[in-house]
């Protein structure tokens, strides 16, 4: 899609509000009561949201900071009901108790605004998990189909960003529907997909088409900006082709080294729950008297209980086995299964870890141990 638009900064608020009329629009904002930056549903915080510094509102739009949690929960919520069940007596034979099952799922139209390139990459990886394989996941897919992604290129690179080390880039717009670049008093809007195109056309009172010459100029500037931001990123490890990482991980570490790097981990779920590509879930039943729900909820592989079998046998009893599995899952196993690394270098896990575990250093150590 070649069309390029521009959006005046002062139009951002009315544009998003107009989009919110028939979609849930998620925007990154800082909650000033507790300093957290997260994606919020615009219609839920609208009256308390300031678009710019200096406004005395509880929430303020934040397009620079990374959100603490990833936007994955818009399409893959922390928990969701899979089905309702109820035991029902047969009126003709009250001895006979039947089971009634029903499924209901809401999949509202959603727009995620202001997500970063790494988060878009991550959604593409989620798509691979839930949309490919022997069967599609209908719950995820339904939400995913109704979701439009509007991302914003990164000019600020944070200390824990490392997207370029895992094959991404700060202006990597390859999985987004619309991509935005900040440019003085306006945003440049690049259209990438049919979905994005439809949204842009429907927004013609806010978006103005750029002429061809400007368009060329914007494009080359976007590339330049991406290059600049990439340069700011500290290089994490010896330059290694993404394809070779799996191989290195297979061979590099022996058990004693895994023990050393994972010893401090306290087996919590923080890194997993903030990670945009972690997708593991548990399925459980909540029953109240004669009816209940079967639901799924995120689970975390660093937990002792994750692989604990009913018999008491636990194949990943120690944290070193669990952490080794986690790193391999991201850099090795999923690569062999799907052909992608399951880390997009967002650095969130590094930031939240209570005990300063740094996946970058561990991967770097693996790769270094394989250097000649």
């Amino acid at each position: 899609m070649e069309t390029i638009y521009t959006l005046k900064k002062q139009d951002l608020k009315p544009w998003l509000e107009s989009l919110a009329q028939d979609s849930d629009v998620y925007v990154p904002a800082r909650d000033r009561d507790n300093s957290l930056v997260d994606f919020f549903n615009l219609s839920e915080i609208k009256d308390d949201l300031g678009f710019g510094q200096g406004q005395e509102k509880r929430y303020v739009l934040d397009l620079v900071e990374k959100t603490k949690r990833s936007p994955k929960q818009v399409m893959y919520p922390h928990w969701e009901d899979l089905l309702d069940f109820s035991y029902e007596k047969d009126p003709e034979n009250i001895e006979d108790e039947k089971i009634k099952l029903s499924v209901s799922q809401e999949a509202p139209n959603s727009i995620i605004f202001g997500l970063k390139s790494c988060d878009c990459q991550a959604i593409a990886k989620m798509d691979a998990v839930f949309g490919q394989g022997i069967v599609k996941d209908p719950y995820y897919m339904k939400r995913r189909e109704n979701t439009v992604l509007i991302s914003l290129g990164c000019d600020t690179v944070f200390e824990d960003c490392f997207c370029t080390a895992v094959g991404g880039s700060p202006y990597g717009f390859d999985h987004t529907d619309l991509g935005l670049m900040e440019d003085g008093d306006h945003y440049v809007v690049f259209v990438y997909t049919k979905k994005g195109n439809a949204l842009a056309q429907a927004s013609n009172s806010y978006l103005a088409k750029a002429d061809a010459k400007d368009g060329q100029d914007y494009k080359s500037r976007m590339q330049e900006r991406g290059r600049k931001a990439s340069e700011k990123m500290s290089s994490m490890w010896p330059k290694t082709a993404v394809e070779d990482m799996a191989e290195h991980l297979n061979k590099a570490f022996d058990a004693s080294q895994w023990k050393k790097v994972s010893q401090q981990c306290i087996s919590c779920g923080a890194c997993t729950f903030v990670c945009p590509t972690c997708y593991c879930f548990d399925i459980r039943d909540d029953k109240d008297n004669r009816q209940g729900k079967r639901y799924r909820c995120w689970d975390f592989c660093t937990s002792y209980l994750y692989t604990l079998e009913a018999s008491g046998h636990n194949p990943r009893e120690d944290i070193q086995k669990r952490y080794k599995n986690k790193v391999n899952c991201k850099y090795n196993y999923n690569f062999q299964r799907q052909g992608h690394l399951y880390c997009v270098g967002c650095g969130r896990c590094v930031e939240v870890c209570p005990v300063d575990m740094d996946i970058r250093q561990i991967v770097a150590a693996v790769l270094k141990s394989k250097q000649p």
């Binding site: 089971i99 499924v103 394989g133 069967v135 548990d282 039943d285 209940g292 999923n334």
Partner: protein, 290 residues
């Protein structure tokens, strides 16, 4: 029913929603050992029942609504998919709930899941089956398949190990097989006890003593992880080729369709790439038996 050919298996994924179970009615429960019970169920919906089929080795997610799902291998003969049998050891909540089921109660079934024994590829070969305790369950439909298609296979040998005579599952089957000329049955228990006149000793040791010839033989084993591990070692020692040795593995499973990430062993998902693995495949995966 055509017993010579197992019809193409219809995966659970034929359903649009792979998480939605089919309702089945408990028909019969059989007490195998003091803490192991077999449950026979029948899909409630007739058309579902008619179109259902599975292959030896495939598993199901069985649930008592309110207690959650657990994974069990379907251990009844694949030639009669109208009645499905599961064997359950009472160890957790769901298994306890299943053990307490009585005929007429409803359960949820998501099946068939996973891969199966490549029985067709083994035609014309000798089959050596080594099972331990409740690990005979996945092997049971395989044994039935071979017995039903007896002419297509050469010798069939089953070595079955249990802690004590009482801990053996499927005692009625064992009795029949003991009398049958179609299968050579050897049984062993861990320590000698009164009235037992068969082998005594751990399964791998007995197997080593038996010295089965690897010539034209496929070996299949299943049991507790530690038994599988040592049995495979013995088979290697006896010069079995890893491509001719099969086992089934267990991991906790949740989704059963390769989504939830729970059941991985290295890059393999037990629910999709397994539960049946050849030793050749396992040799490429790190630490499969822990």
């Amino acid at each position: 029913m055509d017993k010579t050919n197992i019809v193409e298996s219809k995966h659970v994924m034929a359903k649009e929603n792979p998480y939605l179970p089919s309702v089945a009615v408990v028909k019969k429960t059989i007490k195998e050992t003091p803490n192991i019970i077999s449950v026979q169920v029948m899909l409630e919906d007739e058309s579902e029942r008619d179109s259902f089929s599975f292959k030896p080795g495939q598993v199901a997610q069985l649930s008592v609504f309110g207690s959650g799902e657990s994974t069990f291998v379907i251990n009844s003969p694949a030639s009669d998919p109208s009645m499905l049998q599961f064997t359950v050891m009472k160890v957790g909540v769901n298994t306890t709930a299943i053990s307490n089921l009585s005929p007429g109660e409803r359960v949820g079934i998501r099946a068939p899941l996973g891969n199966w024994f490549p029985c067709q590829a083994w035609e014309g070969k000798k089959i050596l089956i080594v099972g331990g305790g409740i690990g005979l369950a996945p092997l049971r439909p395989l044994i039935f398949h071979i017995l039903e298609n007896r002419k297509k296979y050469k010798d069939l040998t089953l070595l079955y190990a249990a802690k004590t005579p009482d801990d053996r599952c499927y005692k009625a089957d064992l009795k029949q097989w003991e009398a049958s000329k179609d299968i050579n049955l050897a049984q062993t228990i861990d320590t000698a006890c009164h009235g037992w006149d068969e082998e005594v000793g751990l399964c791998p040791h007995v197997l080593e003593k038996m010295k089965p010839s690897p010539e034209g033989t496929v070996a299949v084993t299943c049991g507790p992880p530690i038994m599988i591990k040592f049995t495979l070692e013995v088979l290697k020692k006896l010069n079995f080729d890893s491509s001719h040795v099969y086992t089934t593995l267990e991991r906790r499973m949740k989704c059963g369709v390769g989504k939830c990430g729970r059941c991985n062993i290295g890059e393999k998902f037990v629910c999709v790439d397994g539960p049946v693995f050849s030793l050749e495949e396992l040799e490429k995966i790190p630490e499969p038996f822990i």
